[in-house]
Amino acid sequence: MSQRELAIRAEGLVKHFKDVKAVDGVDLEVPAGTVYGVLGPNGAGKTTTVRMLATLLRPDAGSATVFGRDLVGDAASVRSQVSLTGQYASLDEDLTGFENLVLLSRLYGYAKPASRDRAGDLLEAFGLSNAGGKQVKAYSGGMRRRLDIAASIIVTPKLLFLDEPTTGLDPRSRNQVWDVVRTIVGEGTTVLLTTQYLEEADQLASRIAVIDTGRVIAEGTPGQLKSSVGAGSIRVRLHHADQRDHARQVLVEALAGEVALDDDPVALTARLAPGQDTAVQGSHALGELARAGVLVDDFSLGQPSLDEVFLALTGRVDA
């Protein structure tokens, strides 16, 4: 395998707060030019890891380089390459969106007129032109998040940290943020994204590190991760409750997997076989049900959830 340039190489990062080991020996290798997902529940140490890598916290132990520059010894030059969009909007709420962007453009070194141009352009690209004159405290969550990302790309960073960029957003805003992330990485910026949602990591990241209690417990491509965890499942709601036993038999034969009866007397859930295409298996199962004359009211095809990933990786269900 050819040696790809690494955006981040971290070895044994540790950060303790009083008695709490927030990060307890994290190793990461993030290839340049990709979206790298850091997946984990609340309190796993995602934010602390990101804050260390963005030079906001000094690690207690371990070392890391960002594009070859040492995180601690050469923090200033790391800062000139990275941008951070924190979990809580890193904006001045009293100022307007436009003023925030002008201020930050000035601080990135744009001259006064150029910074006004840049701010105007960014507001337009992010669909915020109308809200540019309003104080940020009046913005919705989705608008804040966009403005925050806009602020992070005033000067195109080589590495962008996005800490839970879609937590608390409605699906439409979430999709917009995803679009933005894809565009940004398409232009060559490396993105390190933390998330609590497997789906988000799956949609965006080319590699994922699963992190729990301050350690990386699994790492790989989304496909590798999912197949290591097991497959998804199909859940079916029937039209007639008395067809459930029949349906169960059909599904056991069609999928050769475990089929569980739900608490809901008309529903049942079948586990899909690992390593095979979810969509193909799902369609096959539905086809077999139709052929057997079982009437289906509703069905859903699910990938393993973060809960299941955690259950499989840690044996715990508290994710």
Partner: protein, 285 residues
């Protein structure tokens, strides 16, 4: 059959969709301006503070109203008792009360720093390739502007009440200048406190317990010669008393160069010690 068309009421504030092409062009410019100079970045932060005054004018109100209140209260309430008449007392009091009310308002700087540091916005500032002290210096520059405004308002009110400076315009300007230099230097104590304390309330209570003794144990309200002998040397040598002597001398036209020099030395000391502690605390956050 009729088709009813429902027009969904669109929210005027709702953001337009992201324009991917435009975004791509902005990303692709690859412009990398040279990082701003220390002065430019401090000025940008000062501009930010001024914008905050524009958006939250109440805070400026606080800072202008408090000094006037102090001046009126102390002149008319205590003037008779302390100096036997309000006119003479105003002549003695104005420079000192100006020092007191403006030095007291420097406390707000610590609170603003603390509020900032507990919000995400300071994370943003700290990942920028700028001079580390720029946010603090920016604050202080904008604050100096506010103190100048407060000084002008107090002086104007004093004139209306009958105050006449013997030192003339030059003396008054120099006196206010000395006061502003001291306030700028002294504020580094608050920026440090703002960085190392947990909440703005803690900042407030600590600042209060420093400011009250410091300003009352001084020659602002009364002549120290009326105090017990053991207390006089203490009172006469606090930085606030030295500052008041300096400002009063400049206003009155009999300059006390010793006090002016001592004040400048105190100022340099505050910047050196608390400036250093501030930057260290900021880097460790």
């Amino acid at each position: 059959m009729t088709v009813t068309q429902t027009t969904t009421k669109s929210d005027a504030d709702a953001p337009a969709p992201v324009e991917r092409e435009h975004l791509r062009r902005l990303l692709a410019t690859g412009e990398r301006p040279a990082p701003p100079s220390a002065f430019t970045s401090a000025r940008a932060f000062a501009w930010r503070s001024m914008l905050k005054i524009k958006h939250v004018p109440e805070q400026a109100f606080d800072i202008l109203l408090f000094p006037i209140m102090m001046l009126l209260m102390f002149t008319y309430l205590f003037g008779g008792a302390i100096a036997g008449g309000t006119g003479d007392y105003l002549q003695f009091l104005l420079p000192g009360i100006m020092v007191m009310s403006i030095v007291m308002t420097t406390m707000y700087t610590g609170m603003s720093v603390n509020i900032d540091i507990n919000k995400g916005v300071s994370d943003r500032f700290r990942t920028l390739p700028i001079w580390r002290a720029a946010p603090m210096v920016g604050y202080l520059l904008a604050d100096v502007f506010r103190y100048a405004a407060a000084g002008a308002v107090m002086f104007g009110t004093g004139l209306v009440m009958g105050y006449r400076p013997e030192g003339g315009a030059a003396g008054v300007l120099l006196g206010v200048g000395l006061l502003l230099v001291f306030c700028f230097a002294f504020s580094w104590l608050w920026t440090w406190l703002g960085l190392i304390t947990r909440s703005e309330k803690t900042v407030m209570s600590i600042s209060m317990s420093i400011m009250f003794p410091l300003t009352f144990l001084s020659n602002i309200m009364v002549d120290p010669s009326t105090m017990p002998g053991w207390l006089q040397p203490v009172v006469e040598n606090t930085p606030i008393s030295q500052l008041v002597d300096g400002v009063r001398g400049l206003f009155d036209g009999n300059v006390d160069s010793g006090s002016v020099a001592t004040t400048l030395i105190w100022s340099a000391g505050f910047i050196a010690v608390f400036g250093f502690l501030t930057i260290r605390a900021y880097n460790r956050k």
